[in-house]
C-alpha cells in the first residue's frame, strides 16, 4: 500500500512537470507581449509595458491575416459541421453498404500526413488552373475537418436512447419532425463540439494552408513569414488573446454541460 502511495507521488510530480514543460513556451510568448522593445526584434527583455495591447491592430497586414483566419475558420466550422454531422449520423444510426468505404476514407483523412493532403490539393488546383486563395484554403480546411466532426457526432449518436424517438413516433410525429424536434437537439452539443473542433483545427492550420493559400495570408502563415525579419510584439499579444479566448470558451462549455449531464437522454 505504501509503495503505491509513493509511486503515486512521484508520478504526480512528474505529471505536473510535464504540464509545466508543455506550458513553458506559452508563458514565454505571453511574457514577451509585455516587452518594452524598441524594434521589431523582440528578443531581449527591455522592460514591462502594456502598450502593445493598445496597439494590437497597428500592423495592417497582421490584422488582415487574423481576420482572414477567423473568417475561414467560421465558414469551415459551419460547413464541415453540416457535412460531418450528416456522415456521423448516418454511420452511427444506420448500417448500409459502403459504410466500410466511408469509414476507410474518414480514417485516411485523419491519419494522412497533412503535407500529403496539402500537396495533393495544390496539384489539383494547379491542374484545374483555378488559382489559389481564401476560397481554396477554406475548401481544404473543410475537407480535413469533416472527419473529425463525423467522429464526434457518431460517438454521440451511437449512445442515443431510441426510446425517446419511439415515444415521439407513438405520439404521431413523422420522421422529419422527430428528427428536428427530438433527435437533433439531443445531439446538438456533440455537433457544437464538432464545430468547435473544426474551428480550432482551421484557425491553427499551417501546413495545408501553406500549400493552398497562394499570396493570401492567414495568421499562422503570417507568423511563419515574419520570423525571417523578427516577430513584432503584436503577434505575442494576439496569441495571448486567442489563447485566453479559447480557454474561456472551453471553461464556459464545460461549466454549462455539467448540470446537463445529469439529465441527459
Amino acid at each position: 500500500m505504501r509503495s503505491r502511495l509513493t509511486g503515486g507521488r512521484v508520478l504526480h510530480i512528474y505529471t505536473w512537470a510535464i504540464i509545466v514543460w508543455l506550458t513553458l513556451p506559452v508563458l514565454i510568448m505571453m511574457l514577451f507581449g509585455f516587452n518594452d522593445t524598441p524594434g521589431r526584434y523582440n528578443q531581449t527583455w527591455e522592460g514591462f509595458t502594456f502598450k502593445w495591447y493598445g496597439r494590437v491592430f497597428a500592423l495592417d497586414e497582421l490584422t488582415q491575416a487574423l481576420v482572414i483566419s477567423l473568417l475561414v475558420a467560421v465558414v469551415t466550422a459551419v460547413v464541415a459541421g453540416a457535412l460531418g454531422t450528416g456522415i456521423g449520423f448516418a454511420l452511427g444510426r444506420y448500417r448500409f453498404r459502403g459504410s466500410g468505404t466511408v469509414n476507410l476514407i474518414m480514417f485516411a483523412t485523419m491519419s494522412s500526413p497533412e503535407l500529403v493532403m496539402g500537396a495533393s490539393l495544390l496539384t489539383l488546383f494547379v491542374s484545374l488552373g483555378v488559382g489559389l486563395g481564401a476560397v481554396t484554403i477554406t475548401i481544404a480546411h473543410i475537407m480535413f475537418s469533416i472527419s473529425f466532426v463525423a467522429v464526434v457526432v457518431r460517438a454521440r449518436v451511437l449512445t442515443l436512447d431510441r426510446s425517446v424517438e419511439e415515444a415521439a413516433a407513438d405520439l404521431g410525429a413523422n420522421a422529419w419532425t422527430t428528427f428536428w424536434r427530438i433527435t437533433f437537439p439531443i445531439i446538438l452539443p456533440a455537433v457544437m463540439s464538432g464545430m468547435l473542433l473544426a474551428f480550432a483545427l482551421s484557425i491553427d492550420d499551417f501546413v495545408v494552408s501553406n500549400f493552398t493559400a497562394g499570396t493570401t495570408t492567414t495568421f499562422p502563415l503570417w507568423i511563419w513569414g515574419a520570423t525571417r525579419v523578427g516577430l513584432p510584439p503584436q503577434v505575442n499579444v494576439m496569441g495571448t488573446l486567442i489563447f485566453l479566448g479559447g480557454v474561456l470558451i472551453a471553461v464556459a462549455t464545460s461549466v454549462r454541460s455539467r448540470p446537463r449531464k445529469r439529465s441527459s437522454a
Binding site: 524594434g39 526584434y41 528578443q43 495592417d60 497586414e61 495544390l122 488546383f125 494547379v126 491542374s127 488552373g129 483555378v130 488559382g131 489559389l132 486563395g133 497562394g214 499570396t215 493570401t216 513569414g225 520570423t227 525571417r228 525579419v229 523578427g230
Partner: protein, 416 residues
C-alpha cells in the same frame, strides 16, 4: 446407367464465373482511373523559347487602364526606411495610397507562390513587385506574367536612369522591368567573434569557423560563390564547372562548416550569433548596423563578388497598374532616389543622385555629415568601373534543360 462422372476440370471450366459484376466494376474503375491519370495535365502559359513581345503589346495592355488611387507594392525586407518617407511623399503629391509589404524573401519561393495564381489569370494582390534578374525573372517573362511597360509613362526614368541598364541581357530595352537597385553579394562577419580580417572567399572554408558559417539557400547565389572560389568565371561556366563547384560546396558542408543555408533570414542569424561569418547582401549589413547598433563588417572577396539587379515589375493581373507605374517613376526623381540610397545603401540606378547626396551631406554636421558623405562616395552605392571588374552576374542559361541540370546539381546541397 450412369456414365463416367464428368471430368471435374470440365465442370470447373463450364461453370466458372467469367466476368462477374464485381470484376466489371473493378475493371471499369481501373480504366477510369488510368484515364483520369492521363487526362490530368498542367497547362503552361508560356514557352521557354524566347520570343520578342508583339509590337502592339504595350498599347494593348495599357489601353483603358484607370487610376484607382492605390497601389499594393510587394518588396524585399531592408529595402526601405520603416517610416516610409518616400511613400508618404508620393501619397501627398499624387493622392495615391501605397500598401507596402515586405513579403519577398527569396526568388524561388516567390515565383512558386504566385505562379498558380498568375497562370489562372488571378490577381496576386499586388500591383508592383521587385524581382531579381535570374532564373525566376526569365520564368516570369517567358510565362507572360509581366506587363510590358509604357515608357511614355516613365519620364523620370528615361531622363535620370543609368543608360547601361537599358542594355542588360535579361531585359533588353527594359520592356518588362526597370531597376530598383543593384546589390552586391559578399561576405559579412562579426569582428567580435572573427578576430582576423576577412578578405577571401576561401575564408568561408576556414575550419576555424566550423559550424558558424552561413550560406545562401538560393542556388544561384550559392553556385556563384562555389565557382568563384575555384577561380571560374560564372558567365563562362559549363556543366563540368558546376559539378566542380558543387563538390567544393559539398566539402564545405560535410566538414561541418555550414550552420545553415539561409534566405533573407541570414541577417537575423548573424545578429543572434548563430553564424559568425556569412554570405551577405551589401546594403543589409549597413542597415543592420544603423538600426541595431551592431558593428558587422561587409567585404567584397578578392576572388570576386556577385552583382545582381532587383527590378520593378508589374504583374499582368495587377488591379492598379497605372498607379503602380506612377510610383515607379516617382523613385526615379533624383531627390527620391537619393533619400532611398541614403537609407538602404544599395547601388543606386540614378547617377545624378550622387551629387544630390553630397548636397544633403553638406546640410548636416558632425557624425551625420561624415556618414552621409561616406554613402556618397561608397563603392557599394556608386561603384566605379574598376569596382565592376571584380563583380560577376549569376550564371546564364541558353536552354531550360541547362537550367534544370544546374538546379539538380545545386539543390541537393541545400536540401541534403
Amino acid at each position: 446407367m450412369q456414365s463416367n462422372p464428368p471430368d471435374p476440370s470440365l465442370i470447373r471450366g463450364l461453370t466458372q464465373r467469367r466476368l462477374g459484376r464485381r470484376d466489371a466494376l473493378r475493371m471499369s474503375g481501373l480504366s477510369a482511373f488510368a484515364m483520369a491519370l492521363a487526362a490530368c495535365g498542367v497547362k503552361g502559359t508560356g514557352s521557354t523559347a524566347p520570343s520578342a513581345p508583339a509590337p502592339d503589346a504595350v498599347a494593348k495592355y495599357w489601353a483603358g487602364k484607370t487610376s484607382n488611387g492605390k497601389v499594393d507594392f510587394a518588396n524585399w525586407p531592408l529595402y526601405m526606411d520603416p517610416k516610409q518617407p518616400e511613400l508618404k511623399k508620393f501619397t501627398k503629391a499624387t493622392g495615391v495610397k501605397v500598401n507596402y509589404q515586405e513579403v519577398i524573401q527569396e526568388m524561388g519561393p516567390w515565383f512558386a507562390k504566385v505562379q498558380p495564381q498568375l497562370a489562372a489569370g488571378q490577381s496576386i494582390g499586388y500591383d508592383l513587385m521587385v524581382i531579381t534578374n535570374g532564373i525566376q525573372f526569365k520564368q516570369f517573362v517567358d510565362s507572360g506574367f509581366l506587363a510590358p511597360l509604357d515608357h511614355s509613362k516613365l519620364p523620370n526614368y528615361v531622363a535620370n536612369a543609368d543608360k547601361s541598364y537599358a542594355d542588360t541581357a535579361y531585359d533588353k530595352g527594359n520592356v518588362y522591368s526597370v531597376p530598383w537597385t543593384s546589390g552586391i553579394t559578399g561576405i559579412a562577419y562579426d569582428p567580435k567573434k572573427v578576430t582576423r580580417p576577412i578578405t577571401k572567399l576561401a575564408d568561408l572554408w576556414d575550419p576555424a569557423f566550423k559550424g558558424k558559417v552561413g550560406m545562401y539557400s538560393d542556388t544561384q547565389e550559392l553556385a556563384n560563390f562555389g565557382l568563384m572560389a575555384l577561380g571560374i568565371d560564372p558567365a563562362k561556366s559549363t556543366a563540368e564547372d558546376w559539378k566542380k563547384a558543387a563538390t567544393k560546396l559539398k566539402e564545405q558542408k560535410s566538414a561541418g562548416m555550414v550552420r545553415n543555408y539561409y534566405d533573407q533570414s541570414y541577417v537575423d542569424a548573424l545578429g543572434k550569433g548563430e553564424v559568425w561569418i556569412t554570405q551577405a547582401w551589401s546594403g543589409d549589413i549597413f542597415q543592420k548596423n544603423v538600426s541595431d547598433g551592431t558593428d558587422f563588417k561587409f567585404v567584397i572577396p578578392e576572388e570576386g563578388g556577385t552583382i545582381w539587379t532587383d527590378n520593378f515589375a508589374i504583374p499582368i493581373t495587377a488591379q492598379n497598374p497605372l498607379d503602380a507605374i506612377k510610383l515607379i517613376d516617382f523613385f526615379y526623381e533624383v531627390a527620391n532616389a537619393a533619400t532611398l540610397a541614403e537609407y538602404i545603401n544599395y547601388v543606386c540606378p540614378v547617377p545624378a543622385a550622387q551629387e544630390q547626396i553630397k548636397q544633403d551631406a553638406a546640410k548636416l554636421s558632425g557624425a551625420d555629415k561624415t556618414a552621409m558623405e561616406a554613402v556618397a562616395s561608397s563603392p557599394l552605392v556608386f561603384p566605379a568601373q574598376s569596382d565592376y571588374a571584380k563583380l560577376h552576374y549569376y550564371v546564364d542559361f541558353k536552354t531550360v534543360a541547362e537550367q534544370q541540370e544546374f538546379q539538380s546539381i545545386f539543390e541537393p546541397i541545400v536540401l541534403a
